[in-house]
Symmetry: C2
Subunit: 327 residues, 2 copies
């Protein structure tokens, strides 16, 4: 999606991916190799204006080697849930209680500090037990809903924020996002303040997402992702400038584009299996995005966005996606 956003701006891309069938190869030059292979990194970076990433588990040392934008420090801090939460705390950003089981009590959510995503590496604990050094305990928060905000910061500091997005997960995997989130006038300002503190602290350049819990109108930060984010995919059709174009504008030192929504967007993820394409395309206003990935249970294979759509059409897409997911 970065490549598709860059093509009209004359931005040509080269990708590094361990998989020889990586879908990025369809829209740019593909270097196949490990993220930390120095020779591959050299081939990736040769002759480029800038190197970036859209996957937060890229090894920090590899990122440093090619001087990524945003800086590798954002990756590093985001890769360790404990460090990430401590950063939030240091910036005065409220989070769920976290620390040892002693700190948070039970029941608690025990998460691996590293390499967790889509709910992987998490378990619910309801009686005290040992947890590893590589784990972190979090108090259970009775949140009303999950929100996220995508923010983008230009290389000389200007920052733009997309409208808050309301997210529904299924089995720990994002199923649906709606933006702008309902009743978010007050929360929008709070979320922007959270994102701004983080971006400024990191000297960040590019797009970044913060996942938030709405607890009775109070926002708690859950985690941040130093990259374009699934909960911002609706911006392709639903905002004046997409998160992908704005990430590119930022890292290339160009002016940021407007981030306003152009309507009410609903994003439905296609997980595990893709419904028949004909059926999706038959839904009025459905914008289908397939990623060209092999189906696998729990894998995100694409998404569909609808803007200012009829509820009947939203329901149709949701049902097609749900049927394929559980098929």
């Amino acid at each position: 999606m970065l490549a598709l956003a860059g093509a009209p701006l004359g931005v040509r891309m080269r990708f590094l991916d361990p998989a020889s069938d990586a879908c990025a190869g369809d829209v740019g030059e593909l270097v196949v190799g490990a993220y930390d292979d120095p020779e591959c990194l050299e081939r990736l970076a040769a002759g480029t204006d800038v190197v970036t990433f859209e996957f937060e588990n890229v090894p920090v040392e590899a990122a440093r080697l090619v001087s990524v934008v945003p800086k590798a420090r954002a990756l590093e801090l985001g890769q360790d849930r404990l460090v990430e939460k401590e950063l939030f705390r240091r910036l005065g950003i409220e989070t769920a209680p976290f620390g040892t089981l002693g700190d948070v009590g039970v029941p608690a959510l025990v998460k691996s500090r590293r390499l967790g995503y889509d709910g992987k590496g998490q378990r619910l604990i309801d009686s005290s037990c040992e947890i590893g050094d590589d784990e972190l305990a979090e108090g259970i928060v009775p949140f009303d809903r999950e929100l996220s905000i995508v923010a983008v910061r230009g290389c000389d500091g200007p920052t733009a924020f997309y409208p808050l997005t309301e997210n529904e997960h299924r089995g720990g995997i994002l199923a649906t996002s709606r933006a702008p989130a309902t009743g978010s006038d007050v929360l929008q300002g709070e979320a922007e303040e959270i994102a701004r503190r983080l971006l400024d602290e990191l000297g960040y350049v590019g797009a970044l997402a913060v996942e938030l819990f709405d607890v009775g109108g109070r926002l708690l930060a859950n985690e941040f992702a130093p990259r374009v984010h699934n909960t911002g995919h609706w911006t392709i059709e639903g905002a004046v400038t997409s998160q992908f174009e704005n990430h590119l504008r930022a890292i290339l030192g160009a002016p940021l584009g407007a981030t306003e929504a152009v309507g009410s967007a609903v994003l439905v993820n296609l997980v595990g299996a893709v419904p028949p394409l004909e059926d999706l395309l038959a839904v009025r206003g459905a914008h289908v995005h397939l990623y060209g990935k092999e189906p696998r249970p729990g894998r995100k294979l694409g998404h569909v966005t609808l803007v200012d759509a009829d509820p009947v059409d939203i329901a149709a897409v949701t049902e097609l996606a749900a049927a394929a997911w559980s098929a």
Copy 2:
């Protein structure tokens, strides 16, 4: 732009172009060779589901050889201005007077029957003179404005129409399009009827544009283009489904997407030279599309679309484009 519309739908493309630096090579596989080179045509078509074209001067025989969709007949009829006008006449579609100089009198516009575009191959005659067999005389029409309509017909006959677009040319080259055209409620129906007759007559599948003159509220057909069209480029951001996606849906036998405008769109062509990208991106709401082509006087190098934009921002883009055009 077809490739960029196809990528999210899982459509992978191969292109045939005589130029080894053709911009299509950035977004798909490129076969470099003459349009009528049988070996290249074979390589182009090998393993494809469908072959189409987006340039109306492709040799008809070459198009036939690879069984293009839409059928080569549409190309053939459109490549000869006299045959094209006779088709309009046969379908009861009004045109400017045409034929010999004797038929239309002077002053007249004398056009080459073949290979004319962007005003090339045209001359204004104000006294009677010889014209060649390969030329056609047209009466001068005191039109109020130039309009166009892009229509798309699916492979089993359903047809969808984009809103009428109002076009301004400069030196015979499209400079600006605005859609939906103002005051077009009545004309929309007339234009759709013109396009529908043509599409049905041709058994057409895909996107097609008809250029029209508005003469005091009466529509005269000027010419048709059997392909996605410059006056429909605004549909990328300005309509629910772009002309590019709908062309692909049509030729692949998928349901057509909705063609309604999502706002008021203005398209500004970048001709001859591209203004500084930074300046274009600094204009609020500017969607920049560069084609990756070498600058050349009179060559279309890109376009910018704005939707529901502030007149100040539209003026800014128009001025940047005009300054680069004449620089």
